[in-house]
Structures are given as structure tokens and as C-alpha cells.
């Protein structure tokens, strides 16, 4: 790069920015370092974030629960459930066996389980057998409470005679009342319709298909794009191969990875569509106006540097870049080209040998004002404790600063060298004449609006009245994530196995110790079961049946001995001829505590221990997950009435947060623009400030009007589009207001900027995610209006009279 400028006659204002070539080289260094940072982060893989929850501030609850919820959800996120269904049970088994083998071989699969081996099947009995005297099934507990031990004794007797009960000598000797059997039956009976068939967890559906369950755990966070894509690609290949090998196979999936995968694919498509769309738009416009690729090269250089540095800054300050930041970052293209276009149009309009330093001096006030207002507005966003907003603000501010810097420090030198190559379309050319007429009408139109006392008030009145009357507000976070229908259907099938494991609506039980947590869980369950009986949900899973509190174990031990063993063993002994030592052993059985640690360490807790969380110093937690939860309010009420129990619904809580922050951001924007207005008044006077503010305000109102007319709701994301419209609108007005050279060049710059921005946001409006589409709609209406109104600001800085 050559020295930017050596013109000895440069004015002092310009000196500030190009005293030497140092800033230019410094900028180059910054861009190169940023490029290195970005390349290094990308090569590590975990640079993009697609989890919608990462956009949100920590939810307002105690840090312990927060940590517990995060830990549990990250655990649940790694689980994958697959259901392999076939009309022919034998084929289903063969297919499932092959699937298990294939999955185990995939890199990224941490563990996979299909056919349970004998040790797993006996693990339950092995763990619980020594504690059987204190583990009555709920029915036995109820009988004992009513002093009806005899009924249980008679059932036990009948079972011994039955040829189907498979009662053996050993069991009769150790457990003549069949407590262990009854306990295991009850505890394991929570997944309706599931049975173990030849080691497979299997279920028959209404269409006669036999479904077998295969579960696996991923060795990576499913939201990391590279790992998730690699694994899902291999999984899909495996699934195709399996379906080809077993015609008629129904393979259903449940797991965060599939949803995350769909989100990633959509994000990528949208980013590339939007990016491509605006890139093509920029190329076409630059070629049409300048008839040269050199300005295009300059614009692209600006954009590339802006985006690379924005990415690097975001990565360094905030870690992984969210997919939303990228989507909105792609629209940064439309913002930062402002500066480039402003410079190029101004430069282009001058004669080929005019010094570029002069161009810069002419547009510098406009560029600076624009930069200051944009940065102010984005900094206001940065103050919101909303990670997504902050990231987008940081991304935009750093991108804008770099785009500004490239124009100031690189363009004069680069364009001076190349200027001779461009062919100016002066006022004399045919196209120049057409363009000039168009601009003249545009200026005349806005002058007329300013002149006619009623025109502006009517327009603004309309733009304010429509959204004020017709705009609906909807803060439901679910419109941010539109899940593919096919996945939702599959999830329904698979969730018949184990209830919804997505963990979006759960109960979180906390205790200082495991004992306290278990007691609280036990105290809450009767009320919860009443909700279930009234149809509030179809089923739930909790650790409670598997690991009772010590208090309960002790009470049960006593009740079993005094209510069953002591009074009713003689009946059994007499009818069956059981020898006396059996009785002596039963009555002498001491209480031995079944410790949670033993349960957690046993293979018997597989599939359940993920509901348990030891999180010092916050305490011990467990979650209750639901299947077919239809009355969340009733469940929440149970939680509220129970000590140490919290109901958590990520989606509902986030919607509340969305509402809170929509409110807050409204005020932040109002505050920021009030400040900007003060700043503008200092420079342009009250009347001038008003004319500068009119295009952005009119644009914002027009965007909301369009949203209202389309029947779409306002939420915090579409509000963010309003922020962008305000930022761009004020740029246009400032460029017009500060226009000191030919107005035609400024109009051209504003038109080009607006057109490229419209191109990119027009594509956003096509997004399949409703919230992003709404964003696009607001931006589309807003920028169009701000652009049309921009000439109103012309001349506020006391520039020459309008001479298009």
C-alpha cells in the first residue's frame, strides 16, 4: 500500500486522519490479526452458536437452579432416542442390531444401547434385593396403612400355586411375600406398553408394528456445527442403508441434534442466500453506476475487512458467534457500504484528477456524524443485558468502525491510483441526464412536502396511526424457532417410550442434601399425581420410585415387619409348609439404608440418573419430566405450593423475558435518539435537527405500518429492525444535510446504499423463521421510506442551494 496522501495543501481537519501512512498500516495489521483470529477459531470448530437460548439473558432465578437447569439441559441435549419399527418383529430386531453396530462405529457416538445384556436385566434385582424389606410397592404401602396385610398375604399364597407366576424355591425362601417382585414391577412400569423382549425394549403400536428402542449418547455438544453436521451426515447414510436393507422399516428419531441440525441447515441457507443476494446487488449497482470493477473492489474490500474484524471482535469478547448475529451481520453489508458509496460517488463525480483528499474533506463531516449516531444507537443496545443484542451491537459497531476506517485511511490512496481508470458519468452523458432528472423530481417532491404545510403532518399521522391502531404484540419465543413438521411427528412417536425428554417443561426439586431433596420430592408427588389423574399430563418420570428417602425407607421397613411379616407369616407357613427358619430370617432382617450413592453407581440407574444432579455448593437437585403435559398451569401450581420445587418452562420464561426486553429496548432507543437529537440541535439548530430526524422517524413508522398491514406481530426482534431503520435513516439524512459538493453525488450514494440494503433485507423477509421475516418486513418498509424522505434534510448544514 502506498502512502495515503502527501498533498502538502491538505486542510488541518484531514490531517487528523492521515498525518502519515501509519494509520493505514495499522489498520492493515488489525485486519490481518483479525483474519488470523477468525481462521484459528473456525478451524477449532466451535465458533458458531445455534442454540436460541444463548441469545437470552440468564433467567431470573437463583444461581443454583440456573446452574442445575443448564447442566441438566446440556445432559439431555446429548441424548438421542431412536425407534426401529417393522411389521416383522424378527426383522425389527435384525435392523436394530445393525443400527446399533453402525452407530457404535460413528465418531462422535459416546455410548449406544440397544439389546440389554443379562447383567443389565438383572442389575435391578441385584441392587434392590438386599433392601427388599423396606421397599413396598405403593399398593402394599396403601394396604399396610389400612391394616390390610392379610389381602397381600393371600395374594402371595395364590401366586405360589399359579403355574404362570414362575415362583421358585429361592424366591419363596428369601422373599415369601414377593416384595422385590412387586417393587420392580411398579418402579419399572412408567413407560406404558413397553416390555423387554429378548433383551430389546419393545412396544407394539396400533398398526401392528413392533418398535424397538435404541438409545445413544453423543460425545459432543449437538449445537457445535461441525461435529453435528459430520455425525448427522453419517447417521443419515446409515439410516438410508438400513431402510434399503429392510423395506418397510420405520425409523423415528428424537434428539436435540436433529432439531439443531435443521436449525443449522436453515441458518446456513439463509446466510448464504442473504449474503449472496446482497453481494449480487452490490456488484450490479456498482457496475451500473461506475462502469468499472475498481470501485467494486474497494467496496468489497471495505465489507470484507468490516466483517472479518467484526467476527474477530465478537469471537474474542463473546466466544462463539450466534447464528442470529451472522444473519443480521450479513445485513451489515447494507450499512457499511454507505461510507464507501458516499466516498466513491463524490469522488466519481469529480474530474479524474481532483485529489481524493479533497473528496474526503467534503464528506468527512457527514461520515463522522453518521458514525457517531450509529455508534450511539448501538451502544444503547449494548447496555441491555441481552446477550444476543449485545453481540449484534458489538458486531455492528466494530464492523462500522472498520468500514469507516477503510474509507478514511485506504480509499484516498487506493482510489487516486485507480481514478484514471474510471470513466465518470458526468452531467453531460445521456444517462447522466436521465439520472439528473430523476433526482430533480425526487428533490422537488420532498421540497414540496416541506413547503406544503399539511403534507408532512398527514403522512406522519398516517404512519403513526396505522401501527398505533393495528399493530399486535406477540412475545412468544416459539415463533423464533419453527421446527420442521416431520421431526415433530417423529418426536411424538419416540416420546411414547420415555416421555418428553426435551426438558423444556420440567419440575426442579432442590435440597441441601440428597435426603432433603428426596423428602421434598416425596411430599410433592401426591399432589402431582392428582393433576395426572385429572388429565393434566399422561405420565411423568422422577427418581422417586427408585430411590426413596431414608425417612421413607425406615418407616416402610417398620410397617412391613409389623404389618405383614409378623402377623401374616403364620398363614403362609401353615398353608405352604414353609420351614420356621424362613420366618426367623424375615423378622430379624435389619434395616440397611439404601444410599443414593449406591443407586447412582449401579447399572440399575441407567436412564434415570440423568434426572439427578449433585451440584455443590448449590445443593442436590432432581428433575421431573413429563409426557403429554397439557395443563402446565396445574403443574406450576403444585410446584408453587411445594417447598423447594420450581416449575421451569424455558419457552414460557423466555417469552416473559422477551416482553421485558422489548419494553426496555423501546426506552433505550428513545433515550438514545433523544440524545442524538440534542447533538444534532447543537450542530444544525432545532429546525435542522428536526429535518434530519424526519427521515429516520418516518422510516421507523413506515416499517411498523407495513408490519401492521401484513397482520404480523411486533416483538423484540422486529423492534431491532426499527433500530436499524433509525440508524440508516439518520445516515441518509446526514449525508444529504452535510452534502457540500454536488447533491447529485450524494443522492446517488444514498440511493445505492438504500438499494443494496433493500436487497439484503428483502431477502430476510423471505426467511422461513417468522421472526426474521418480520424483521425483514420492517426493514423493507422503513428503509424505503427513510430513503424517500432523505432529501428533506438537504441543506441543513448550510450547504449550497440545491443544484442537481
Amino acid at each position: 500500500m502506498s502512502e495515503p496522501d502527501q498533498n502538502p495543501s491538505r486542510p488541518p481537519k484531514y490531517r487528523l486522519f492521515a498525518r502519515s501512512s501509519l494509520p493505514a498500516w495499522g489498520l492493515l495489521l488489525v485486519v490481518l490479526v483479525a483474519g488470523g483470529v477468525v481462521a484459528e477459531r473456525m478451524s477449532r470448530g466451535a465458533w458458531i452458536e445455534t442454540n436460541i437460548m444463548a441469545l437470552l439473558p440468564p433467567l431470573a432465578r437463583d444461581p443454583g437452579s440456573e446452574a442445575a437447569l443448564r447442566a441438566i439441559s446440556s445432559r439431555l441435549e446429548r441424548r438421542v432416542f431412536l425407534s426401529v419399527g417393522h411389521e416383522d418383529a424378527a426383522k425389527a430386531k435384525a435392523a436394530a442390531a445393525r443400527l446399533v453396530k453402525g452407530l457404535a462405529a460413528l465418531p462422535g457416538t459416546a455410548a449406544v444401547e440397544g439389546k440389554l445384556d443379562e447383567s443389565r436385566l438383572t442389575a435391578w434385582a441385584d441392587l434392590y434385593a438386599p433392601f427388599r424389606h423396606q421397599l413396598p410397592s405403593p399398593r402394599l404401602r396403601a394396604l399396610l396403612a389400612r391394616n390390610q396385610g392379610e389381602a397381600w398375604a393371600r395374594e402371595a399364597l395364590a401366586r405360589v400355586y399359579s403355574p404362570f407366576a414362575a415362583v421358585g424355591s429361592a424366591e419363596l425362601e428369601e422373599d415369601p411375600f414377593f416384595l422385590l417382585r412387586a417393587f420392580l414391577l411398579h418402579a419399572g412400569s412408567e413407560a406404558p406398553g413397553v416390555q423387554v423382549e429378548e433383551g430389546w425394549l419393545s412396544r407394539k403400536d396400533g398398526q401392528g408394528l413392533t418398535h424397538l428402542l435404541v438409545t445413544l449418547e453423543l460425545g459432543f455438544n449437538p449445537y457445535t456445527v461441525r461435529d453435528a453436521k459430520a455425525w448427522e451426515g453419517q447417521f443419515n447414510a446409515l439410516a438410508l442403508e438400513l431402510k434399503a436393507g429392510f423395506p418397510g422399516l420405520a425409523l423415528n428419531r428424537l434428539g436435540t441434534i436433529f432439531f439443531a441440525g435443521a436449525g443449522i441447515r436453515r441458518g446456513e441457507t439463509e446466510v448464504s442466500t442473504i449474503g449472496l443476494g446482497s453481494a449480487l446487488g452490490v456488484v450490479a449497482l456498482v457496475l451500473a453506476v461506475f462502469h468499472s470493477l475498481v470501485p467494486l473492489g474497494l467496496v468489497l474490500l471495505s465489507l470484507a475487512c468490516a466483517i472479518v474484524v467484526a467476527l474477530a471482535v465478537t469471537m474474542i469478547v463473546m466466544g462463539p458467534v450466534h447464528i442470529f448475529t451472522l444473519v443480521f451481520g450479513a445485513s451489515l453489508i447494507g450499512v457499511s457500504v454507505d461510507y464507501a458509496f458516499h466516498f466513491l460517488c463524490e469522488h466519481h463525480g469529480e474530474s479524474g484528477d481532483a485529489p481524493p483528499g479533497g473528496v474526503l474533506r467534503k464528506i468527512m463531516p457527514a461520515l463522522l456524524m453518521s458514525l457517531v449516531t450509529s455508534v450511539m444507537a448501538y451502544l444503547a443496545l449494548f447496555m441491555a443485558p441481552f446477550p444476543g443484542m449485545r453481540q449484534i451491537a458489538l458486531f455492528s459497531v466494530s464492523g462500522l468502525l472498520v468500514a469507516f476506517a477503510t474509507v478514511v485511511w485506504w480509499y484516498p490512496a487506493l482510489s487516486r491510483r485507480r481514478a484514471a481508470g474510471t470513466r465518470p458519468t458526468g452531467a453531460g452523458s445521456r444517462r447522466g441526464v436521465r439520472e439528473a432528472r430523476l433526482f430533480e423530481r425526487w428533490l422537488a417532491g420532498t421540497r414540496w412536502m416541506l413547503g406544503a404545510r399539511w403534507a408532512l403532518p398527514v403522512l406522519m399521522g398516517l404512519l403513526v396511526a396505522v401501527p398505533a391502531l393495528g399493530l399486535r404484540v406477540d412475545d412468544d419465543v416459539r415463533q423464533l424457532q419453527s421446527l420442521p413438521g416431520e421431526l415433530v411427528a417423529e418426536e411424538k412417536i419416540v416420546s411414547r417410550w420415555m416421555g418428553s425428554m426435551s426438558g423444556t417443561r420440567i419440575l426442579l426439586v432442590r435440597g441441601d442434601t440428597a435426603e432433603e431433596m428426596l423428602r421434598r420430592l416425596e411430599a410433592m408427588l401426591p399432589a402431582l399425581e392428582r393433576v395426572g389423574e385429572q388429565g393434566g399430563f399422561q405420565g411423568y418420570r422422577s427418581v422417586s420410585p427408585w430411590i426413596p428417602s431414608m425417612e421413607k425407607q425406615r418407616a416402610d421397613h417398620l410397617a412391613v415387619r409389623e404389618g405383614l411379616y409378623r402377623p401374616w407369616f403364620p398363614l403362609l407357613a401353615e398353608s405352604l409348609g414353609l420351614p420356621p427358619p424362613v420366618e426367623a430370617k424375615l423378622l430379624a432382617a435389619p434395616f440397611r439404608p439404601l444410599e443414593p450413592g449406591a443407586w447412582l453407581a449401579s447399572p440399575a440407574s441407567a436412564g434415570w440418573r440423568e434426572l439427578w444432579l449433585d451440584l455443590p455448593p448449590h445443593g442436590v437437585f432432581s428433575v421431573v419430566v413429563f409426557q403429554g403435559l397439557s395443563d402446565p398451569a396445574a403443574v406450576a401450581a403444585v410446584a408453587k405450593a411445594s417447598e423447594g420445587v420450581a416449575y421451569s418452562s424455558a419457552a414460557d420464561e423466555i417469552s416473559v423475558v422477551f416482553k421485558t426486553y422489548r419494553d426496555r429496548i423501546q426506552w433505550l432507543i428513545l433515550g438514545a435518539y433523544a440524545l442524538i437529537w440534542v447533538l444534532l440541535s447543537l450542530r444544525y439548530g432545532l429546525g435542522g435537527a428536526w429535518r434530519i430526524m424526519l427521515p429516520p422517524l418516518g422510516g421507523a413508522a413506515a416499517g411498523l405500518t407495513l408490519l401492521a398491514l401484513a397482520g404480523r406481530p411486533l416483538n423484540v426482534i422486529s423492534l431491532f429492525a426499527v433500530v436499524l431503520v433509525l440508524g440508516l435513516g439518520i445516515d441518509y439524512a446526514l449525508f444529504m444535510g452535510e452534502s457540500r459538493g454536488q447533491v447529485r453525488a450524494t443522492l446517488q450514494a444514498v440511493a445505492m446504499s438504500a438499494l443494496t440494503t433493500l436487497l439484503s433485507f428483502g431477502l430476510l423477509a423471505l426467511s422461513s423463521t417468522q421472526a426474521i421475516a418480520n424483521f425483514g418486513l420492517v426493514a423493507f418498509g422503513g428503509i424505503t421510506m427513510a430513503f424517500l424522505l432523505a432529501p428533506i434534510a438537504h441543506g441543513v448544514a448550510g450547504g449550497k442551494k440545491v443544484q442537481p
Binding site: 395364590a158 404362570f164 424355591s169 414391577l185 413397553v194
Partner: protein, 204 residues
Amino acid sequence: MLAGSPMAAPPRAGAAPTLESTLSGLEGVGVFNAQFESTRTLKVLRRPLLSGGSLLLAKEHGLIWTQTFPFRQKLTIMAEVMRQEIQGGETIEISAKDNPLVFVISRVFIAMFSGDRETLNRHFSMSFQSLPIKSLEGQGWEWSLEPITSPINRAIARIRIQGRETISALDILATNGDRTRIALTHVRARSEPLTPSEVQAFRP
């Protein structure tokens, strides 16, 4: 006794019964009635447990096992649910999902009485021999089933079925050495559907 039933079409005169011919004979049976006498010999008990009653097996419905001695209990086993009624006690319903083992055993039971090859082949390796003794009631045979699938193979070592025209006795040998012998008398097999009163018996 067996006139009119498909089981009354025994192998051609002189031909020894085979597993194939026995299964084919059982296959045609729709409804099976018998009286049973069960003797359970458990090592831990000082004396064998004797019980008796009747059984009704209908391919389309399931099995009713009515024990009348030494106390009354009725087990009604259907495809997805089992009902246990005990003299003087409450009726308990158990669904297949709750107690898979009971259902596997009773399904095997039903499969044996109805010659369900698919189920039997899946769970057992089978052998068959015709006994040298001939009597007026036809040639005797012994059919032996060894379980090959879990969980049955953990509980049962072998099942021996004896019969002539039809099944006359079952010997169930548990893996731990316990034995259950079920002797059947007054066996009536027929292809006709259940009578209304029999259907009623399957209802709670």
C-alpha cells in the same frame, strides 16, 4: 370324545405321530377345556403343593385358569391384560407391560395348546418322540421343549409334554430343580367358537 374335531383326524393308521402331525392336530383346535391337577414340588417346602380346577383355552380370547382347590382363584389371561380373582380378596388386573414374565409364560402355554409353531420355535428348541406303548386311546408321545430365550430360560430348564390323542400332562422343570406337574383329564378340544356363557367368563 374327540369326534368331529380336527384332532380326531389322527395320522394315517399305522403311522407314528410326529411333532408335525401333533402340531397340525393342535392347530385346528379353537377351544380347549380340561380339568387339571397340579403338583408343585418346591425344594424349600416340606410337602408338595396340590391344587386342582379347570381350564378353558380359546385361541381368540385367551386362557381362564380356575383353581377350585385348596382355595378358589381365577386367572383370566388375555392378550394385554391379566385378571387375578382370589377368594375373599380384591380383583387385581395386571397389564402385559407391568409383568412381562407372566405374559411370556402364559403365551407359551397358549402356544403349546394351540400348536403355534412360530411362537414355539422362537422360544424353544424342541424334540419329539413317540412312545412304544400303544393303547386303545392311540399311540403315546413325549414332546420336550427347551427354552432358548430370556427371560424364560432363566426360570425354566425344560418342559415335557405327554399325550396320546391330545395333551395329557405337562412337566415343568425349573432351573433350580423345582418341578410342576399338571395332569389333564376330561380334555375336550373343539373347533367351534365359545358359547355365550364361556365368552361371559372372560369378562370381569
